[in-house]
C-alpha cells in the first residue's frame, strides 16, 4: 500500500487516541481534586502540597496492611519517597500540564502502541513490492541489489522518524488546547536509583520538563528505529505483508506475556520485546527482570537491530525472485 495513505491513517489513529487520552486525563484530574478537596469545580486554587501529603498517607496505609506482598511494598515505598522528594523540593506532580501529558503519552506508548504504528508502516515495505510484483522491475535495473534494499531501509527510517515527531506534535497541540497550561519550564526530578529496597536520591538531577520530554521522545525514537529494523528484516524474509505484520505483532505481544510468566528465567531479558519500555528506567521504580538497566536494554536492542540488518541484506542479496 502507498505509504502516503498509511501515514494519513496513522495520523488519524494518533489524533483520535491523543484526544481521548487528553479528555480522560482531564476528567480524572477533576475527579481527584473533587475527592480530596470536596469542592467540585475548583481546579485552579488548591493546596497541592496537602493533596500530595494525603496521597502519601493513603499509600502508607496500603503498605501497612498485612495483605500486601513484599515486592509490591517496595515499589509503593519508592513511590512514597518520590512524592516526599517532590514536596521537599517544591515540585508539583499533580496538576496536569501539556508537558506532563506529552511525556506521559510516550511513557505509555513506547512499549506497545508506538511499535504497533511502526509495524504497520514498515511491515510491507519490502513484501509489498513482492505482492505487487514490482520487485521485478526494480531488480532488473542496472543497480546492485544492496542499493535497492538500502534505499528501502532509509525510507523506513524516515517514516519512523515522522511517526515519532508527529505523535509529539499531536500531544503538544491537543494537550495545550485541553489543559491551557504548558508547564514546559517547570522543574522535574530524574535520576532516582533503587538500591536494595531503598530509594537513593543522591544522584537526582533537576531538569526542566521540556528537557525531560526531549529525553523521553529520543528513547521513543530509538525504540521505533529498532522495531522498524526488525519488521524490515521479517518483511524481507517472509515476502508477505500479512505474515510479516502478524509475526511482528505476535512477538511483540508474546514478549509481554513471557515477561509476566517467566520472570525467573534469566534468558528472558535478552528478548527484544522485554526491553522496549525504556522510559520506565528514568523513574527508577521499575526493573522488569533483575539485572536490566537502561544501558543493558539499549545494548540488547542495538544487537538485535544489527543482526536483523545483516540477515536482511544477506537474504535479499541471495534470494531468487520468483514472483
Amino acid at each position: 500500500m502507498l505509504s502516503k495513505k498509511k501515514l494519513i491513517l496513522i495520523s488519524v489513529i494518533l489524533l483520535v487516541l491523543v484526544s481521548l487520552f487528553c479528555y480522560g486525563e482531564n476528567a480524572s484530574y477533576k475527579h481527584t481534586i473533587m475527592r480530596f478537596s470536596g469542592t467540585p469545580g475548583q481546579t485552579q486554587n488548591y493546596n497541592w502540597k496537602s493533596m500530595v501529603n494525603q496521597q502519601i498517607l493513603y499509600l502508607k496505609n496500603i503498605v501497612n496492611s498485612q495483605y500486601i506482598k513484599e515486592d509490591r511494598k517496595n515499589s509503593i515505598n519508592i513511590q512514597i519517597e518520590q512524592l516526599q522528594y517532590y514536596i521537599n523540593h517544591n515540585i508539583n506532580p499533580i496538576t496536569p500540564t501539556s508537558a506532563k501529558f506529552t511525556i506521559d503519552f510516550m511513557d505509555q506508548a513506547i512499549y506497545l502502541f508506538l511499535p504497533l504504528l511502526i509495524i504497520i508502516l514498515a511491515g510491507d515495505v519490502v513484501s509489498g513490492e513482492f505482492s505487487s510484483k514490482t520487485i521485478k522491475v526494480l531488480l532488473t535495473r542496472s543497480v546492485p541489489r544492496w542499493k535497492i534494499l538500502l534505499s528501502k531501509y532509509i525510507g523506513v527510517l524516515i517514516l519512523s522518524c515522522i511517526v515519532v515527531v508527529e505523535s509529539a506534535l499531536m500531544c503538544v497541540i491537543i494537550s495545550s488546547f485541553v489543559f491551557h497550561s504548558g508547564g514546559w519550564n517547570e522543574p522535574m526530578a530524574t535520576g532516582f536509583k533503587v538500591i536494595g529496597d531503598k530509594l537513593d536520591s543522591s544522584n537526582v538531577i533537576r531538569i526542566y520538563q521540556w528537557q525531560y520530554a526531549i529525553l523521553v521522545y529520543s528513547l521513543g525514537w530509538f525504540v521505533s528505529i529498532n522495531i522498524a529494523t526488525l519488521s524490515f528484516m521479517v518483511s524481507v524474509i517472509v515476502r508477505n505483508t500479512v505474515t510479516s505484520v502478524g509475526i511482528m505483532l505476535a512477538t511483540l505481544i508474546g514478549g509481554g506475556f513471557l515477561q509476566i510468566f517467566l520472570q525467573d528465567w534469566p534468558m528472558i531479558k535478552y528478548l527484544f520485546a522485554v526491553n522496549l519500555d525504556l522510559t520506565q528506567y528514568l523513574t527508577a521504580s521499575y526493573q522488569p527482570v533483575s539485572g536490566m538497566s537502561l544501558s543493558f536494554s539499549t545494548l540488547v536492542l542495538c544487537l538485535w537491530s544489527i543482526v536483523a540488518l545483516v540477515i536482511s541484506f544477506i537474504v535479499f542479496q541471495k534470494q531468487d525472485v520468483l514472483v
Partner: protein, 304 residues
Amino acid sequence: MKDEVLLLDNVTKTIKGRQIIKEISFSIKQGEVMGFLGPNGAGKSTTLRMIVGLSKPTSGKIEICGYSIAKNHVKAMSNVGCIIEGPDLYNYMSGIDNLKMLASMSRGVTERNIMDTINLVGLKNRIRDKVSTYSLGMKQRLGIAQALMHNPKLLILDEPTNGLDPSGISELRNLVKQLADEKNISVLVSSHIISEIELMCDKVTIIKNGETVLESADVDKLLNNQGVFWVLSDNEKGRKILEENWKVKGNIVKEKLEANVPLEKLQEINSCFVEQGLMIKYVDNKNKTLEDLFLNLTEGNQIV
C-alpha cells in the same frame, strides 16, 4: 567486442533437488530477433529470469554484451530492457511518474528519451493518468516503454502480446522489427502465440523439459526445408521413383508418401511422377507452419 549480445553456455538450474533447466545453451547476435518457445513448464520463464539476474543459475554462465550477469550485474543489466511475466508497475502512480522513477535508476536517461519512448509506444494521451486506470494493453505498452527508455542493446519480452488487441499486436510486431533494423537492438521474445513468433522472428529456439530441442534455428530455412507429403494413385511406385531418381528415402504412412525434399525440387519431382503415369491427388508441406514443427518437436510433453 564479440557481436554476441546474449550468450548462454550450459546453464542449469536446480530447485529443491529437481533439475528444472538441464544445460541450455544459445546465443543472440546483434540485431537478431529470437523467438523463445516451449510448452508450459518447459522452463522458459526460469531461463528468462536467470538471464535478467532475478534468479541465479546453479551452473553455467550467462553473458550480456560480454559482461557476466552474476559477476557484473550493473554493467550487464545496463544493456538490457525487459518485461518478465507481465508489466507490473506501480498502480497508484501515473505512467509518467513510473517511467521517471525507473529512469532515475539508470544512468543517462534524459527527459527527451522518456518522451520519445512514450511516443514510440503510443501512450502519449494517457501517460498522466494513474496506471490503475489503464487497460491491460496500455499497461503492456507502458511496460515496453520502461524496457526501452534507456536504449538497451538487448530487449527481453516475455509474453508481450498478452492483452494486446490485433492492431496492438501488429504495432508491436512492427516496433520490434523497426528496433532490430534501425537501432540494431537484439530481441528475445517468448510467446505462446507461435504464429506471432513466426512473423516477428528471424531465429527460433525451442525448449522442452529444460532442454533445448532446437537451437537458434533460422525460421525461413526451417520452414522451407521441410518434409513434403503426397497422396498418389500408387504410393509404392512413387517411393521407388524418389529413391532411384533423387536418392531420397520416402516413407509410406497410411495413405501418404512422405519424404524430405527441398521445396525448389518439388516441381521437378511432381512432373516426373506425372511422366511415369502416376496421378497426384494431393501434395503439401508436411510442416506448413512453425506451429506444426513446434507440436512435432514437443509432442508427448508431460509436465514433470
